[in-house]
């Protein structure tokens, strides 16, 4: 999902940075608040952040004959919301642009918007919609993680399409082109990511249900039912 350094005109770099910065500031503020309230949230933050580190380093082959990587943002979106997720993503993306030449400092804003803001926000919207329904908790996690992943790549496609509209057909036509590259490759990866993170969430619920309860990630009866204490 990285836009490579130099491949985005500077005007667009500025636009995406302007969108990304307030989100990051708000994320840091929220992060401080959560940790002040409950120090036990820190290990959970480390686990969800750890998965973003792991999954975004795995470049997996896909049906289009190219490789791409999952984002891993869904889990932290569910536990901490989209803004704190933006902060973790910014750290990962900074690491990748400094040491791996994946993305870069000028395009960091655009990459934060796709991976750290729009993806998690899309996932969060679905999570809020499903949280209090009868939908199975793990199914919810699966859907949220898969969507957060897919929407990241939709956003990358849109960012590139806006900067490089096709001569014939304009933004929509080049959006379709970039979607073909990024989004289709991503579908199988998003499914695997969703399943794996749902499994991870199951282990968190088994090991440390009280922190999930205290952060009100899911209603109490759902967590009890999932642990077989209904």
């Amino acid at each position: 999902m990285h836009i490579m350094e130099g491949f985005l005109p500077w005007q667009w770099c500025v636009v995406w940075w302007i969108i990304a910065l307030p989100c990051l500031v708000f994320g840091i503020y929220q992060l401080k608040k959560v940790l002040e309230k409950d120090r036990e949230a820190l290990p959970l933050l480390a686990v969800t952040g750890g998965f973003i580190f792991i999954l975004s380093s795995l470049k997996l082959p896909s049906v289009t004959g190219s490789c791409s990587h999952p984002t891993g943002t869904g889990l932290s979106t569910i536990c901490f919301g989209p803004w704190i997720t933006s902060v973790i993503c910014a750290i990962v993306l900074l690491f990748q642009s400094l040491f791996l030449a994946h993305g870069g400092l000028s395009v960091l804003g655009a990459n934060i918007v796709s991976m750290g803001i729009v993806g998690p926000l899309a996932g969060y919207a679905v999570y809020r919609a499903l949280r209090n329904t009868r939908t199975n908790m793990y199914l919810t996690v699966f859907i949220v993680c898969a969507l957060a992943d897919l929407f990241t790549y939709f956003t990358t496609s849109l960012e590139l399409a806006l900067a490089y509209p096709a001569e014939v057909g304009g933004v929509m036509s080049s959006f379709a082109l970039f979607m073909g590259i990024f989004a289709i490759t991503q579908v199988p990866l998003a499914i695997v990511e969703g399943v794996v993170l749902a499994l991870v969430f199951k282990y968190i619920v088994q090991l440390k249900p009280d922190i999930i309860l205290r952060l009100k990630v899911f209603p109490e009866e759902k967590i009890r039912a999932a642990r077989g204490e209904a």
Partner: protein, 103 residues
């Protein structure tokens, strides 16, 4: 999840399916290079603008790994950082749980 290991089984099927899909794609697409989608995206940009890829110079100077080996190493480092965090916390929680149940 009705059975105890339902989710584990689903995850296993998904991963095996994913590997199968990869084997199938790589066998029918003999020209598939499995390059990163970032790279494919960049060449698409070059095609749309009619400029050569080399003309896209970084706006801000950046260090890039001198070889694929070094890049792979740094990626492994990134995954290791994540792995340490995850393993450490799961162990911490497991220890907490053990302490709470034995006390």
């Amino acid at each position: 999840m009705s059975s105890k290991y339902g989710l584990e089984i689903i995850a296993l099927i998904a991963i095996i399916g994913f590997c199968g899909l990869f084997l199938y794609t790589s066998s029918i697409m003999s020209d598939a290079e499995f390059a990163g989608s970032d790279t494919v995206g960049s060449s698409q940009i070059a095609e749309l603008t009619g400029k050569a890829e080399e003309e896209f110079q970084p706006l801000i100077w950046q260090w890039s790994p001198p070889s694929g080996e070094i890049e792979a190493g740094i990626f492994a480092l990134q995954a290791a950082i994540g792995g340490i965090l995850v393993g450490w916390v799961f162990g911490y929680w497991k220890g907490q749980k053990k302490r709470d149940t034995t006390e």
